[in-house]
């Protein structure tokens, strides 16, 4: 039972981490209508910036702040140079252009930092484990990620529903031309929004740095999961991204943790291990398929009138 609880917590933690990545993706994809495959590259930029800045300043907190600034700036630059030209284009053009950006970003990182993964460790203050239940030790850093995820969800909620900027974002996503006619500089707004999405991706990368290898191409592995999350949640819905991320995280973790043992009840151990491993890596896609059968626009569909 304790093990189940621990695995559930692991699942929630993975879900929150996926939400950090998916939040920016769903904002850009849902509100601006752009498929941004290079979102994973912004994740990588954040992780690299955090690792390099932490090495340089000696402070993880400062590393995170610098990572936020760098990824935001890179995002804004990307919007001005590339994305801006893609809004009126076909989705296929967007996929091609942003795929090109992935190749470009990976090669640039190889030139700047080489192929050796960078070092980034958990800051001393968050190192170690705490006993959350009798007999269950849980790494403090993973708890910190959960806290950060909740914080990001709150910030996004407040920005989108309570502020004037959020109102314009929502209006712009429903009818861009009308908002522009009313005198809002929609181009500037989209640039800033893209920058905000980039900041979220960079933040996720920086937070992930101490847990995973900071290496070229690290973003693409996360990107696929992030797309699954936003498709399940409903493209453009931040609430959907949160629910989708938690669902994916829990299903994936519990699948990896218990499927092989479950299959062993009626199979020989060797094939149960193999089939269990195969099934558990499929589990999130099966969940996605089931959700799409019953809710073709995801769990929390966003009304996309006038687009």
């Amino acid at each position: 039972m304790l093990l189940f609880f621990e695995q559930l917590l692991n699942g929630i933690q993975l879900g929150v981490f996926l939400f950090l990545i998916a939040a920016g993706l769903t904002l850009i994809f849902g509100i601006m209508g752009v498929i941004n495959l290079a979102h994973g590259s912004l994740f990588m930029v954040g992780a690299y910036a955090a690792a390099a800045a932490t090495e340089w300043t000696g402070s993880f907190a400062l590393g995170i702040v610098i990572a936020l600034i760098v990824s935001g700036l890179v995002g804004i630059l990307m919007e001005l140079v590339v994305m801006r030209r893609l809004y009126d284009r076909d989705h296929l053009d967007q996929v091609l252009a942003t795929f090109g950006l992935i190749l470009f970003a990976n090669e640039l990182m190889t030139i700047l930092f080489g192929r050796t993964p960078l070092f980034l460790n958990v800051p001393a203050i968050l190192n170690g484990a705490v006993e959350i239940l009798p007999g269950v030790q849980y790494p403090l850093y993973r708890l910190a990620i959960i806290a950060m995820g909740i914080l990001v969800a709150l910030i996004l909620y407040v920005i989108i529903t309570k502020t004037r900027a959020g109102m314009l974002i929502r209006a712009g996503s429903t009818n861009r031309d009308m908002v522009a006619v009313l005198g809002v500089d929609i181009a500037l707004m989209f640039t800033l929004l893209f920058g905000l999405g980039a900041v979220f991706a960079g933040f996720a990368g920086a937070m992930a740095g101490p847990l995973i290898s900071v290496e070229v191409g690290m973003g693409e592995q996360q990107l696929i999961l992030a797309f699954v999350v936003i498709v399940i949640g409903g493209i453009g819905s931040v609430r959907g991204a949160l629910v989708g991320a938690l669902l994916v995280g829990v299903v994936d973790t519990l699948g990896r943790a218990f499927l092989p043992d479950l299959l062993k009840l009626f199979m020989d151990p060797a094939s149960a291990d193999g089939i269990g491993a195969g099934l558990s890596s499929m589990s999130i896609y099966i969940v996605m398929a089931i959700v799409l059968v019953f809710k073709p626009s995801g769990l929390f569909p966003v009304a996309a009138a006038g687009r």
């Binding site: 692991n10 981490f17 993964p117 170690g128 847990l211 291990d273």
Partner: protein
């Protein structure tokens, strides 16, 4: 067309436009002419050089330079090219031309590049593949073309036993023996109960089979993970629940880095010690996780500090040329080149023109390996001395992988007896 043109009367603009395009066409024509001329000159020059100098021996290297495992291929390539650079562009006194291409860890790419190297470039020696999912594509193509293949890394079991081939050589190790040696070391350390995990693909399954072939204790649990996952929380919780003596895993490159970081954060590194093979604990992994690697034991056929003249020359040369410590992969690339050099020297630079002599010279392996002694078993896979290592922090605070002892001397792989070669 410049901006003011657009402000002219439409008719005028149209006329100008036509004029412009005529001019562009003429320019384009002239450019084309010039290009053809340049190409002709280049062809003439190229033809001239080939007439006067002997053709270099072409070596095709298909390796993995991109993805998270890109540093493996990078080090194999750099180690290989270091040996070529030592002789000023030659191996064994013969001019060589090394063609390097990235397979991106995809078998399809491997096939395309192999076709190109074998049919268009007419290479005489192939090498370079890192991953065991690409070797089964590249090696049969190479054998069919009657070209030599010398592996600097991957050596799956299918080419070690009944499927061995007289033109296929391995300068590294047979896949299984990498992990068998870890099993031997675990016995040596007195562990009775091991939890083992590996990615769910062929080399992962081979690794667990290899470990179990020699490990005498019980298996507390066995887990296949996804290939290239980033989160190991679920697996780590399962390890804790199983409460083993030790943990063995085969998670090379980035996967190993992810696992180690998370394993040490969960506080299990000292409770359930790790005994792995060198693929899961190399210099770059150590650099990326630092303190989290301290205490991890591994087995390898080569160590940075190995005390022999060839290794000293290699390590110093590598550091000077590339400004970093070589990994085990770099040592394998370097050994591969030195092996080829020894055979080229024996045949005076002939490869496909003197296949029997070249093959016999390769088999002799008359070169100074950085691992010390080097000899082939009957199936053209090396018989290695496996050493046990432990990661430590030295007096200056550097993380080093120190040699403990030789754990499995003269280790012949499990498939050699099934190979018909002598």
């Amino acid at each position: 067309m410049t901006a003011p043109d657009l402000q002219d009367a439409p008719a005028n603009a149209k006329k100008r436009h036509r004029f412009d395009s005529v001019q562009t066409n003429r320019e384009r024509f002239m450019k084309t002419n010039r290009m053809i001329a340049a190409a002709a000159v280049a062809l003439m020059l190229g033809g001239a050089t080939t007439t006067f100098a002997a053709d270099p021996v072409k070596i095709g290297m298909i390796t993995t330079l991109s993805t998270g495992a890109g540093y493996l291929g990078e080090d194999v390539r750099d180690g290989f090219l270091l040996a070529v650079a030592e002789e000023g562009g030659k191996l064994g006194g013969t001019d060589v031309e090394v063609l390097v291409e990235d397979d991106g860890r995809k078998p399809g790419n491997g096939k395309q590049i192999a076709d190109k190297f074998l049919e268009k470039d007419k290479v005489e020696i192939m090498t370079g593949v890192i991953f065991s999912n690409i070797t089964p594509v590249v090696v049969p193509l190479t054998m069919k073309a009657g070209v030599f293949y010398i592996s600097p890394n991957s050596a799956p079991s299918i080419f070690a036993g009944e499927g061995c081939n007289e033109d296929y050589f391995v300068a590294s190790w047979q896949n299984d023996s990498l992990h068998e040696s870890a099993g031997v070391y675990a016995n040596e350390l007195g562990y009775k109960n091991a939890y083992i995990l590996a990615p769910n693909y062929q080399a992962g399954k081979d690794s667990l089979a290899g470990f179990k072939r020699y490990f005498k204790g019980d298996i507390a649990g066995e887990t296949y993970t996804k290939l290239g996952p980033t989160d190991y929380a679920a697996e780590i919780a399962k390890i804790r629940a199983a409460n083993p003596d030790m943990v063995f895993h085969f998670l090379p490159g980035g996967m190993g880095i992810n696992f180690l970081k998370q394993y040490s954060q969960a506080g299990l590194k000292d409770t359930y010690p790790l005994v792995v093979s060198t693929a899961s604990m190399d210099e770059r992994i150590m650099g990326a996780v630092k303190d989290a690697a301290v205490g991890v034991r591994s087995t390898s056929h080569w160590n940075l500090a190995q005390d022999n003249a060839a290794n000293k020359k290699f390590v110093d040369g590598f550091k000077e040329a590339y400004g970093r410590n070589p990994t085990v992969y770099a040592s394998q690339g370097y050994d591969t080149a030195k092996l080829i050099a020894s055979a080229l020297k024996a045949t005076g630079g002939k490869v496909l023109d003197a296949k029997d002599e070249f093959r016999a010279a390769l088999k002799k392996a008359d070169f100074e390996s950085v691992r010390g002694e080097f000899k082939f078993a009957n199936n053209n896979h090396p018989i290695n001395n496996w050493i046990g290592q432990v990661v430590e922090k030295d007096a200056d605070g550097n993380i080093v992988n120190s040699i403990v002892e030789v754990v499995s001397p003269n280790h012949k792989d499990a498939y050699a007896d099934k190979c018909a070669l002598k």
